[in-house]
Assembly symmetry: C2
Homo-oligomer: 212 residues x 2
């Protein structure tokens, strides 16, 4: 197997931390090129995004969570996607999706609609040109703010994002928050539970060894 990443981006980082948690050996290639992905990478697949996993039979698998679910089937322990019961698995899936859609994607909305390097590529992966829309910078900030408030409420009641154990939902939420910090959107000071959780998960070797 081979994993294609762009080490500056949050979605490949989700998979890299997941690999670290499970000590899965992997050949990794960075296909970033300045502020964009290399054209020869983009030409390889209809899924013009990273992370992309190339299986040994040549199949190409995209979407961070789909890649991690595939790897979890091959390397079940520790369970980060499937939990120990159907309910745990469903809550992990739900919170992983919320952390992606309301967290990572909200920060990307700010980032890609603001920086001139992303002109015409305000969403990743599209063949058609998507112009930047300045009003989305504010919308992305509001969405991220609300995501953090939701997370604060959730982490006031439990240790980790999807329950009592560390899971893929924590990895994705952490990558959203670190991506936001890099995009000059630090955690609000009143989010004490998110701050407690963030310090704790950031000290895990898989996270500390994979800078965001």
């Amino acid at each position: 197997m081979k994993l294609y990443v762009w080490t500056l981006a949050p979605n490949p980082r989700r998979v890299l931390i997941f690999l670290g948690e499970k000590s899965i050996p992997m050949t990794v290639e960075d296909v970033g090129d300045g502020a964009r992905l290399k054209p020869e990478f983009l030409a390889r697949s209809v899924h013009r995004r990273v992370p992309l996993l190339e299986l040994d039979d040549g199949s190409l698998l995209g979407e961070a969570a789909a890649i991690c679910r595939y790897l979890e089937a091959l390397y079940p322990n520790p369970p980060l996607m499937f939990g120990n019961t159907p309910k745990q698995a469903a809550l992990i899936d739900m919170w992983e999706r919320k952390s992606e859609g309301e967290g990572v994607f909200a920060v990307a909305e700010v980032f890609r609609n603001k920086l001139s390097a992303f002109e015409g590529r305000a969403l990743g992966g599209y063949r058609t040109e998507l112009p930047q829309i300045p009003a989305l910078v504010d919308r992305g900030k509001r969405r991220f703010q609300e995501f953090v408030e939701t997370l604060e409420q959730q982490l006031a009641e439990q240790l980790f994002v999807a329950g009592d154990s560390f899971s893929m939902a924590d990895i994705t939420a952490l990558c959203a928050i670190d991506f936001a910090k890099r995009s000059r959107m630090p955690l609000p000071e009143n989010c004490v539970n998110v701050a407690r959780w963030h310090a704790q998960v950031s000290s895990r070797p898989s996270v500390a060894g994979c800078a965001g």
Copy 2:
């Protein structure tokens, strides 16, 4: 268990078709109220969206795909999420996510940024007001167009969206396309493979019995 839906919306329809495919008995409540969800429903959970599944222990589970994955663990046959191999499961997950993010969400972008009924609620589920952004109507149309082109390429090579068998990826792609049609974005005439597939999946009793 009890499923909360808004029968006019595409995401609850994904779960309703899934239930039909598996003949899963379910108590269903429509919490739509004109062009919005009922306030008493919105107050119930941080996940202010439909579909929402209430488990017998009172837990609330959101996100259409997470709900279906939970139900698949309880009712494994026919497999619509998990496939028969880790690779099949991963491809279903990948294409289900693409059909949601690039299909359903692209159409919603058009719909919610255009209709006056959605003023201040240009994305569903947020507590904060999110104003409509007229430029997103055009962006959503471009995104949907590219999704259909990707699907055309995929369905030129295989029978169903994620491979040789009908799966959750087909359900989500179908709901995106029917939602687009209702939003005056019909299938382009040159998408012959998408049209062939759409006619075929639309004739399934689970789909025909659940108008989109």
